[in-house]
Subunit: 253 residues, 2 copies
């Protein structure tokens, strides 16, 4: 019988204010960690996409958006703001499905999600929309580099998370949009199970499990957009984009 | 600025042996919790489907299985054991997709998953397969009732979890197959965001987030099939089956 792994602790970083374009996100995270007496080392920092996007200026004023004919058509079908649909189409590489008032897009990054991640709630002001970061892996990398430069020490994982709907199941879960300082998928294939037989199809999406765990503390209505997780094994280094399923082997695209 | 929520702690329950059909799962859980000095109250117990299935005798000896013609055909196409495919077909209400050596089934419970949850790895003996519990919500309810009867106190949530593949993303995450003592989806729709605007489409799949969090400690290769989570809000009571998406509104079925 092998030893049980160490307990895991999740702490919401307190007191992060509403983030505005151009804000120094590493400084806000660092200050919040200090308030909670947390040293950013030997753990994973999970940060909600929304504040990353806002800090990076991925905010659009809807009155500046001129909807295309296609956006007008979709908006009319869905009972939505045509300017929102215009942003959805601009962020979309390919429409995967449309129906029930929602557009399931493959974004230019390769994520498959509702409305290409364009969000009107929790936007910095009424009449604005927040888009996904241009390159969430690069956002995670930059945040990790900044934190390591002045207050952290490796191993330090940084994950940018966002809530996603799923086929077949109601409700949203948080998934990883970007990662740095950790291998997003822990591949156990080829390792034996307890009885020595080979474990099949056991590549665990660790970054997604961390994002979902952090989601337990990441209440959009409570202003806790960053969660620190300690007690986990942090191994390897890889980005999320490299772990998206190849459309050629995807049965649902 | 609102107060940050309390930290969350996850503990793998130590020393649970390989479970066999007929084993007293509540007694095994209770003993493991005592070893870790954990009182099973004000928290969520997440238990891996595999040990629930084994305790309930959902184990099939492959040599007892006679494959149908369809199972023979699928097994030949996929390079798999025809007896496994026969079990997959018996557990399947509807085949959602087939390809790349895998059958995506809607099980008789309504779960959409690879191979209808029929698993040859981590089976109790070579030449056996483990099936999903007949009614995972009832399994969770029975385990909760037994724990409350002799050592726990409400609020106590029990979740049965299993690893699932997903469309679009590589790697597996743990999801909830059954639940008792908690509302599986926390519905924030209609509540205001930080700026007073209504949060849209924000129904968080809490049970799935708990399952994924527990998955960080649930190593199939390390014998830790049950995880205790404390520090979370436990509200309501509902089953997972009631939260599965209605096929009529599902864009991927």
């Amino acid at each position: 019988m092998s030893r049980a792994p160490e307990p895991i602790r999740l702490v919401a970083l307190p007191g992060i204010p509403a983030v505005l374009p151009g804000d120094d996100l590493p400084a806000l995270i660092r200050a919040a960690a200090q308030r909670a007496s947390i040293s950013l080392q030997a753990g994973a920092l999970v940060v909600c996409q929304k504040i990353v996007s806002k800090a990076e200026g991925r905010v659009v004023t809807l009155s500046d958006v001129t909807p295309s004919a296609e956006a007008m058509k979709f908006a009319s079908e869905d009972g939505r703001d045509p300017r929102q649909l215009e942003l959805v189409l601009r962020e979309t590489a390919r429409i995967v499905r449309r129906g029930h008032g929602v557009t399931i897009s493959e974004t230019k990054h390769g994520f498959v999600c509702a409305n290409a991640g364009v969000d009107l709630s929790n936007a910095p002001a009424p009449g604005t929309a927040v888009l996904l970061p241009l390159d969430p892996d690069a956002s995670a990398r930059a945040l990790r580099d900044a934190l390591l430069a002045d207050c952290g020490a490796p191993p330090l994982a940084v994950i940018i998370s966002d809530t996603f709907g799923r086929p077949w199941r109601e409700g949203l879960v948080d998934l990883a949009l970007g990662s740095a300082g950790i291998e997003p998928i822990r591949d156990l294939r080829g390792k034996p199970d307890l009885d020595g037989r080979e474990l099949q199809a056991t590549a665990i999406a660790t970054a997604d499990q961390l994002a979902a765990a952090a989601g337990l503390l990441m209440r959009k209505d409570a202003g806790t957009p960053a969660v620190w997780i300690e007690g986990i094994a942090i191994e390897g280094d890889g980005d999320i984009r490299g772990t998206l399923r190849d459309p050629a082997t995807d049965l649902f695209r």
